[in-house]
Structure formats: structure tokens, C-alpha cells
């Protein structure tokens, strides 16, 4: 077995500082609304629960789409 095969390698793409800031902000925002959704459910505040769940899901899906779009864009650029 080759030596490199014994290790898992995590590769983190280099990004400008403002991109990191954006993703940290996105993560905090998503976690915040998840916490609000869970808390509202515990409080039996169902409208607050549905609104915060919707904000959470939209933000989560939006972030994932932006991430996927970045991957696709980079893939196209490397092909051309």
C-alpha cells in the first residue's frame, strides 16, 4: 500500500476573506433560525415556528444552491 493511501486528505479551497465572512454569516444565520424554529415549537407558537422554519429552509437551500452554482461554474471554466 502506498503511504498516501493510509491518509484521508481534506482539501479546503482558497477563497478571499469576504467569501469566508459570507459563509460564516450564512452558517450563523441558518443556525439562528433553526434555534428559533425549535424554540417556537417548544413554546407551542406554531405561526412563529412555521415562519422561522421557512426562513431556515429558504436560507439553507439558498446557500446550498450558491455553493453548487460555484462548483458548476468552476467545472465549466476548467472544461473551457
Amino acid at each position: 500500500m502506498k503511504k498516501e493511501d493510509s491518509y484521508l486528505t481534506i482539501r479546503i479551497r482558497k477563497r478571499p476573506w469576504y467569501a469566508w465572512l459570507f459563509w460564516i454569516g450564512w452558517l450563523l444565520f441558518v443556525l439562528f433560525w433553526l434555534e428559533v424554529a425549535v424554540g417556537s415549537f417548544k413554546e407551542y407558537e406554531y405561526r412563529a415556528f412555521y415562519i422561522s422554519l421557512a426562513v431556515f429552509l429558504i436560507t439553507l437551500i439558498g446557500g446550498i444552491l450558491v455553493w453548487l452554482w460555484g462548483i458548476i461554474k468552476r467545472g465549466r471554466m476548467s472544461l473551457s
Binding site: L28, L31, F32, E35, V36, G39, S40, Y44, R47, I51
Partner: protein, 452 residues
Amino acid sequence: MSNKIRRRDFLKYSLAGGGAAIAGRFSSPLDLARGGDEKEGFEHPWWVKELDKPVLPIDDTVYKRFDPEKNVFGSFVKYVGIERAMKLRKINRERTAKYFQEKRPGYRLEDRALADAAWVLSNTGGLNRGLRSWTRLFARRPEERGVEKYQGSPEEAAQLVKAAARFFGAATVGITKLDRRHIYARERGKEIVFKKVDEPYEDDKKIVIPDKCKYAIALSVQMSLDNLHCYPTAISSAASSLGYSRCEFLVGALAEFIRGLGYVAIPSVNDLGSSVAIAVDAGLGELGRTNRLITPEYGPAVRLAKVITDLPMACDKPISFGLLEFCKVCKRCAEACPSKALSFKDEPDFEVQGEWNNPGHQAWFENAPECLAYWQESTSGCSICLVVCPWAKKDKTMIHSIVKASSAKFSSLDRFYTFMDRAFGYGEKRDPAKWWYLDLPEYGIDTTMGKE
């Protein structure tokens, strides 16, 4: 009260991205590590300010001891007229019967039985009766134990009393020098007087409080928001009744504790004097648009009680958490009030609505007879104003603490918060039939709320 922040608050605000700014409130890394000072359990949240005087002023030339005969319960018929009072009674009787027949949720036999049962302890007491006895019930005095009466410092005494009060069920406790103007002028037709005597007593003509009783302990107990949300039904009314019953036990037990230390203690719930005025002086909260106490921790969802004593204690100060500015723009309670009994004025003033208000202090005065008339029509009280208040929250999500803290610090956001409170559906009525199937904690309240 220090400005130190508590562990739970720190975690919340750290998560919200404000950790660095808030960490600056800790005086040292050691302080951060232990999460504040030793007395953190008796402190309000860090965004509550202490003041030398209550936010809403008293006009000393006008403010006097109130005659509770004038309050709305004592003089309802006089205020609304005999004809309307009879009509309301008829409506009450007819609707009660109709709701029973329809088996309307919130007004069924089981709902009514719950509300009545929750009064059980409160109904055993009264001024100088039952657990509210002005003399000892079972407490052994220090001399019976062969020791001197308690001799700790006022600070130590305050700490003991607060710890005991919490143990007996108080949500918050504050101590103030007794302003005698908050004590009613009379009760049960007898004049209440202060005299140089050792023990409080009452005879056929007067009720006597010893001159030496210079301190008042203000107490609040939480009411179940899950019950109050089922307004205006017997389920919501049960929250009030249980609150009163818990107050009955609380003041009775605390008075016995103080007597056990060798001092005089006069327990009181709604009798004897204005619990709201004493609570404002003792820093439990501020006077809101409802002309009732609103606390930073539980909003208006509390019942109040007090114990008057001669035990020297360190006093607390009145507080402000931006409620005055908030109430000016919010008006949710006034809009939701079905009897339109609450004031819509932008600013509080000294203008009373009627004899049921005690003049001489600035407030948003309420039309109490209209409020009580609605109680008759609904057949089971109301409590809508308590629930729609944006300060009444169960605090199971950090967003409430963030909103409360930022409202206390930046009043310019109050209008936005009021709008969002509505948009999120807070304060909406819930189905009383479903209350029976909720998995609620003891007394229907979270006793750790505001204290972790």
C-alpha cells in the same frame, strides 16, 4: 445590581454573533469563568438598569393612601349603575348555562372545575386570616429555641429572605423601604393605622401595623402562559386562580420564616396595600400601559404579593428596561382589549379615569368597570392584555432575549418589534380543548426561566 451577564445569556449572545461585545461586560477573565458574581440568581438580566426613583413619577402633593372600597370590585354597581349590573348578571347566567349545554371548550364542567379548584388555597385566606395570619401559625420563635433573634447584617438578611422566598415559590423578589402611602386607608370597614406596638393586631374598629415595620418584600409568582393563551375561558382563568393560591402559600411560608428569625411579618396578597406600587419600588418591574406591573423576565404574566416586616434588610432600587418607550408605541394590549378599557394615549399622565384609580401618580389609567363588565360577559374573566404583551414570552428561543435586550437599549426598534410580534402570531388565542393534552411542567410554568 451589577451589569454582569449570566452564563445562559452569554451563550445566547455569543451564538448570535455578539459574544465579543458582551464579553466586555465581564470585569475579568475570572469573572467570565465563574459566570458572574455569587448573587447572580437574584439579579435581573444585564440590560435592566437601576434607578433612584421609579420611571413614572408620583405627585407628592396629591398621592395618598387609597380606600379600597373605591376599587372596581368594591363599587362595581355604583360605577356601572344597578340596571347595567343586573343586565350583566343576567347575561352571565344565561351564557354560562348555554356554554354548559353546548359543551363549549373552555367552559365545560371540567374547565370550570379546574378554575375553581385552583382557588383552593387562596379561598382559605384573607387579611389576617388563614395563611395570611398576622401572628405566628407554627413557627418556633428564637427564644423557644434558647437563642437570640437573628442578628445578621441587612445584606445577609436580604440574601436569606430572597433565598427563602425563591424556595417557597417566588419567581422574583425585591425589597424596599415601605412607603406608607401604598398601604390602603382601610380594609373591611376598619381603619388601617401605624402605631408604636410590638405586634400587629386588629380590633373592632382598626387594623394596627407596628411603626417598626419599615420594610416591604415584594414577590411575584409566574402564571402559566399556556393557560392564559386560552383566553377568555375557565382554562385561562385557572392561571390566575393558581397564581393567587401560590401567593397564599408563598406569603404564609415567608412570614413564618421571618417570625422564626424573631421578627414581625405581615403577609399580604391583594389586601392591605397596592402590591403593584410596592413591586415597582422594590424593582420587580415597571408600570405598563395596562396600569399593572410588567417584569423584564415574565412580562405581565405574574401575580404579586408582599410581606411587611421589621427585619432590617438591604433594599433594592426601582428599575427601567425601556418599557415606558415600548408601551408608548406598542399599544397591543389596548387594541386587543375587548372592552376598550385600556388607554390609547401616547403618553402616560396624571389624569385618572374615575374614582377606582388612585390619583397622584403618572400612568396609563384604565377604565376598570368596563374591564370587569367584560369579565361578566365572558363568564370567566379575561387576561387578553396579559398574553398579547410582547414581554410575555416563554423564552425557549434566544430571539426573545435578543429582542428584549435590544429594546431596552435602543427604543428606536420598538415599533419594528411590535410589528414582528404580530406577524409571528404571538398572543393569539389557542384552543382550550387542546390544553388538556399539553405536556406541561409543574404548575404549567418553567421555574428555571429567568434564573439559569
